[in-house]
């Protein structure tokens, strides 16, 4: 269970999150939608204390994240998987070393057990053949899939996805969305997906939050979002579903 209340963060005069509250029940997937640069990634980073908010309360599995000492925070972080927008693979390590890194640091697995786990995870994301490759040899979609495999390798209870499909072609985006769904189904994790990809959002969400000007202007199911009469939401939805800006302007 993730509980956030009265969370505030600003960079200088720019208010990013303004007194926001939300909850994510165990095993469910919440999607945070919003325009680029609105603060969705900042919200995600606050949850794991990569960014320290100005004020507020964050509780994950009964632990008040912002009050945890470094050791306690690290224990909690082992339970959380984080897929970064850029995948953030360690570029001086091969794919195998990237996946082995958290295992070496946090488990007592033998070399052969580690290798077995790595192969299993790579197989799950369909990239067994990339084992010995370096990140620079991978495409954007492959990096995301390896990033996903790495973030799942410790079997986390909670998964945070930061723009999992951004910068990918529609086919690869669909593939990543399918993988997210498959992982949710298999590991029954509590997840937060930050995105502005409507197809991904509609496919994976149990609940949708829409962030605008530091506040959640919508909190509900996908059906509620589609039915909403709110002009901003309708505009946001229609803009996102219009693939071609040229067609959109002609239609207007």
């Amino acid at each position: 269970m993730i509980k956030v209340s009265k969370l505030n963060i600003s960079f200088g005069d720019n208010i990013i999150l303004d007194d926001i509250d939300f909850e994510v029940p165990n095993g469910s997937t919440v999607v945070v939608l919003g325009r680029s640069g609105i603060g969705k990634s900042v919200l995600l980073k606050c949850l794991v204390k990569l960014i320290q908010p100005d004020s507020g309360f964050i509780e994950i599995d009964g632990k008040a994240v912002l009050n945890l000492k470094t050791r306690e925070l690290n224990e909690l972080r082992k339970e959380i998987g984080f897929l970064f927008q850029s995948a953030a693979l360690y570029d001086s390590m091969s794919v195998e070393e990237n996946l082995a890194f958290p295992l070496k640091k946090h488990t007592e697995l033998s070399e052969s057990e580690m290798r077995e786990r790595i192969i299993e995870m790579l197989d799950m994301v369909g990239l067994k053949e990339a084992l010995k490759k370096m990140p620079s040899e991978l495409s954007g979609g492959m990096k995301k899939r390896i990033g996903l495999a790495r973030s799942l390798i410790l079997f986390p209870k909670i998964m945070l996805y930061d723009e999992p499909t951004t910068g990918l072609d529609p086919v690869t985006s669909k593939e990543i969305t399918r993988l997210i769904l498959e992982m949710q189904d298999r590991f029954k994790m509590t997840s937060i997906v930050v995105t502005h990809d409507m197809i991904c959002a509609m496919s994976v969400a149990d609940q949708i939050l829409v962030l605008e000007s530091g506040k959640f202007i919508f909190n509900g199911s996908t059906d509620d979002l589609v039915k909403s009469k709110n002009m901003f939401l309708q505009n946001f939805l229609s803009t996102k579903l219009e693939d071609n800006p040229k067609d959109a302007s002609e239609r207007r």
């Binding site: 984080f82 970064f84 946090h106």
Partner: protein, 266 residues
Amino acid sequence: MKQNFLDKIINKLTSQVFEFFEIIGGVTTFSVKFFASVFRPPYEITEVRKHMDELGVKTLALVSVTGLIIGLVLGMQSQPVMARFGAEMFLPGMIALSVVRELGPVITALIFAGRVGSGIGAELGSMRVTEQIDAMEVSAIDPFKYLVVTRVLACTLMLPLLTVYVDFIAILGGYISVIITQNLTFALYADLVIRTLKFSDILPGITKTFAFGFIVGIVGSYLGYYAKKGTEGVGKASTTAVVISSLLILLVDVIMVRITLFLFPE
């Protein structure tokens, strides 16, 4: 017009001075954090050894050539002067003293700053802007310990080794310059060098390289670790690392020389 130009120069200088002191403040805090972490496990010895290998390989060829040239040039420049005073027999000792006490440590450190300091700044800077450091942190791995402490330790331990090597090569270079003008055997040259050098010449020269190595490591790491603004920030971290560490090496050298003269007055 002229006034505007002057204002611009003054503003630029003022902001650079502020930036310099801001970096020095940051590096000091970073150093305190380093000493607080370095004695706490995990010790990441494999990683320190890996970095030492890399730093050694990266700089060996460059410092070898530089060492040889220092010795050669020093010998060639000093020989006519020594000859004027009829003191040519002191040339080997003079080369050895200059190299071991000052030239070897300082020039090796400056080359090390240019080659390694910029590399660390760029490497960590690029890891910062591509969220690799965040990824490490969120995986419950202390990036400061894994990335910074290991690199600073590797620099601190590797620079003295490189300096001993450069000193040796430079003294050999000195021998080449001596045999061009004098009929001196290597055994006699080595004997003159060994007789001249004392413990109080070698120890301070090597000791200060630990400090220089630390400076290169900590400044490069600090600037890379806190790099901002994408690739521009990475470039800035890399170049600023060289400038600041070179300046600090020279400043610390002055202090170390004073301390050496105080401890070993002879």
